[in-house]
Symmetry: D2
């Protein structure tokens, strides 16, 4: 059967998550988060993050990013981010919409990562006495990044320090948060508020839920704006129990880490096979479940012959492709890839 490496969002829902949804489909319960499952959500995630947090479920990563960034960025503010960030080219302006007129200020950075020094330099052009620019408000970094790499704790902490000194709020786009967590082997607390993160977009859809993402607020002072924007944008769902069920199942028994580790491991094995193939060149270190790789035609043809579909990725250098491993990739997939690559090696 054909297999497509396009994205981890093409995967099914983890059976344990589906079971949680089915289990809660029983009887009348109060709406708008007043049910028992939803009421326990803050508590459950406060345990995960070792600190009192507030959880705002939404139905997509775009919503999580727009809502969280819109809540911490005034309408006249800027969000500093890497030029490859999801909020730049994949969300049709969620930040501009939720902030009501804010602006993204993007810059490059090795490994798809924002550098603390580059941010610091950028901030020099902004200041209370120079109104002609907009207000320097927020920095957003993506963990794992849009190219599959991860920020180390030291890197996040350094950005957090620049943010703190510059009066910026710090946001993390964690669409693949669990994959980064698994890769670093650190705690959720260390990767977020202990490194300076004020607010987090926590993705769960790519690792096993139907469509549950969450804004996690570490700083209570930010909650008011999130609560009202969350409501008026349409995410205070009446049947909130079905969202809560997913979010509980996601972290119970470390489901999230288990699934993330599986996807990361598959990617690592694929990367090893790819790197060993003549003419193939990894574009970025493979640190989580995304692979960005330059593939010669021979490889894409061999893949096609094996029923493996890979997509070209827009780049100034032709031949770049993205391959994303999923938590539910069949065990045999790696062998199929190795078989295809072997035919190239022989050529």
């Amino acid at each position: 059967m054909a297999y497509d490496f396009a994205s981890d969002n093409a995967a099914v829902v983890d059976p344990r998550v589906m079971a949680a949804i089915t289990a809660c489909n029983d009887g009348f319960v109060p709406p708008y988060g007043a049910d028992e499952l939803s009421s326990r959500l803050n508590r459950a995630y406060s345990d995960v993050f070792e600190r009192e947090v507030m959880v705002f479920p939404v139905s997509s990563g775009t919503a999580a990013n727009g809502l969280s960034l819109g809540a911490v960025t005034p309408s006249y503010g800027t969000v500093f981010c890497h030029e490859m960030a999801h909020i730049v080219g994949s969300e049709a302006g969620s930040v501009e919409f939720y902030s009501g007129g804010g602006r993204l200020v993007m810059f490059p950075g090795d490994g798809a990562k924002l550098g603390a020094a580059a941010l610091d330099a950028k901030l020099k052009g902004f200041g209370p006495s120079f109104l002609h620019q907009m207000h320097a408000s927020t920095v957003s970094l993506t963990q794992a990044t849009e190219r599959g790499t991860v920020y180390s704790l030291a890197e996040i902490g350094a950005i957090g320090e620049v943010a703190r000194r510059g009066g910026l709020k710090m946001h993390m786009d964690g669409a693949r948060f669990a994959n980064a967590l698994a890769a670093l082997g650190v705690t959720p607390a260390e990767m977020t508020w202990k490194s300076g993160v004020d607010i987090l977009s926590l993705g769960t859809t790519k690792s096993g839920t139907v469509m549950a993402e969450a804004v996690i607020v570490f700083d209570k002072a930010l909650a008011e704006a999130v609560r009202f924007k969350h409501k008026r944008a349409g995410f205070l769902h009446s049947k909130m129990r079905y969202f809560a069920a997913q979010l509980h199942a996601y972290v119970e028994s470390d489901l999230w880490l288990e699934n993330a580790r599986k996807a990361n491991a598959t990617a690592a094995r694929l990367a090893t096979a790819l790197a060993a193939t003549p003419g193939v060149e990894l574009a970025y270190p493979v640190e989580t479940n995304q692979i960005f790789v330059h593939l010669p035609d021979a490889v894409t043809k061999a893949f096609a012959a094996e029923g493996l579909n890979v997509r070209p990725w827009a780049s100034s250098r032709p031949g770049l492709h993205r391959m994303v491993a999923s938590y539910c990739d069949p065990e045999a997939l790696v062998a199929r890839v190795e078989r295809a690559l072997a035919t190239v090696g022989k050529g």
Copy 2:
């Protein structure tokens, strides 16, 4: 077991809808609506509405109203609506948010219904030569209304005619669309575009889905704004198949009408029993599944004794309560209510 008449959104998901979700949870499929189920959505609803329509799934009624009204109302525009409309007091300003600065202009009307003549009179204060007001842009009516009544086709058509003459777009908040449809015994086409409706918020959550609502666009010219706002607000879900599965199941085999008829019938039986009870007075005709009724203390006490919970409803006249019947109310519920009321009758 205790029963609470608070709202139909406290109900479970219809087993047929849940089965559809489970059924689609199989294999990798393309994201963002490119899967097979999602691709068939426009076709399926075009059949239902006897006209080519575009369907934009969202996860709540607030999102549906905000998105649809925000797409047809410029930032400097007004939305004319009944003072009891959901967009007025229950959505924390979804219209102001999605329109980016629009305004609701509300007025009263018998039976919680906007009157064509009242709208016409209101429009006199707006006009191209009088800039000091805002632009007269849109009219929104709720079918069934917030008090459980329904607009007749003639009433909708009359408002549609005023809208057409005044250059207004016409929106219908159909959070309980199926209940109104069942009550009137007309077609979806007759109740919408044939009566002048340009865009519809179609609610399905209260009649059996998890959290699937949809914006239905009848006029292609409006689709561009809906598409972009839908995307940037965060409703172009990656795993769209799970939304599509619900929306397909909802109209297949007339599930929606069947469920709506059940809820309406339950409400009718409850209303009959209530109306026959001394001291009880129906505040509005019971035409769908919502009952607004003045209850003397004797009745609320008798209900409590039977484990039946009813909520007071904010009103200038004390004693008003709302009781909402659900499609999944148990058969025995009406008998319990009759039993409780009988004790009052004897008193």
Copy 3:
């Protein structure tokens, strides 16, 4: 020569203001408020208000209201105001625009005045635990009111106290601030921050400038939002000196109070003559320079014969007219009015 009582904004510019503009039209000076006149603006108005204030010049009252209310009201917030407020029906939604999606919550009140008790009652429907409404953010009162009456210090203070307890910011629309000041005989400090006002729209155009209004910020914490919105809306004018010249001239030698007293006095004399005329009825106490009066046809005809034009004012009771006295009304105007009224008295 015909005379029209339509509005005080039809008047010319005070010669002393025009002289100040001409006087500053000399030589190259730094732009954007860095010139000497602009630099002294905060100092001059801090003296006037007996407290350190920040002054943001704008070119209209609509801009002053939108900017100040938009700066203190979040996009998800409400502004409580009287239903006759200028922001309701005369600014095409300036508050919704500058706040980026806020909402006006209006209510009635005798003498076109908001009552502290009514505001208090209104606030009961809003609260941190009830998200379905919007956030209760701001109260705005107009001094002098849209019907020419004035709030006493006690009335302003009582509203200020409700605002303080409810966590609201307090705004004053002072389009005719000087007229109210002259009427009450109190200090600018007493009528504003000493009574709880956080931010003021100070009108000067109606009392003698070309088109200079100002947002006066009493609370430094509010200044950041004002500064950025002021800039991006387009009011950080390059040739700021010409605005500063007007605003200095306005308060120097008490020009503003002198002009306001003149206009008020003219209105008082007109009111006396009107009240003494058979069939004429003052709709509101005449406390500043605006007169709202029910005029029989005989009077409007007599006015017409004398070349005096008065405009009907929209009202449920026909015959209401507004007559506004200006600081530059010719001395002979009152005599003309008296002459016209005398012919009616005889009739």
Copy 4:
């Protein structure tokens, strides 16, 4: 006396403009543009532009750009512009504010000019089928540019052609429109709508008015959005006559062209002297009244000795300075510059 080349907005008001203001300061006239001078504004500028146009006076260039771009760009739309455009770094986000959430998409271009081919290439990444980007809505070009160069009619027309094919609206930031007009020796019609421009920010402040800029609308269909945004932002001034007087005086007897020619001629003479000086290098062709020039320390010292102040301009290459010539520069100024430069030449 010291002289500062910082900007042409440091200049005084042309005596003829001041005379027009003083002349109209006579008697009561209707407000909000209903006076005689304002009523003639559309007619006067329709004559200038050889087509029926609508004129919306505002008080700054930022307002003109924000208002015009916000009116033609939906909240989900992008404005394509040169990375040096005024809207990028000098208006604190006027476009994001007035559009309610739009985005600037910037790119480089020789001579501070946007190229038609570069725009065409950029548009490839946008399209109706690729929602993840925002909507491609508008192109904005600055004439004369931010570096003093001018687009030829052919260059404007080529961009206009790309815009037309791509469905973009076309905006011109004409803060120094007259300077460009004088430089090219073409008609206002040729430089705007005949080359594809839909809407124009017409600057007049730098060439002799107090603070009058105007949005000029060539396409009637765009006027509605401009009218309402113009009103609610606060630019429908009550005493509109004083704006109208300036805008009439500006084009009467070709005052604008006369002043622009003077400033351009002064710049040309300065450029000639600079280019002949050892170590001095013009960074851009001097085509209007702005000079961007690399100055060695010897020159800035010689200037200082002569009382001539020049400002460094942010650039990756140190030593860049901007010198702006004004219509009211004294005749002797060029001689002073030549005298200073002569001392360097000798060194």
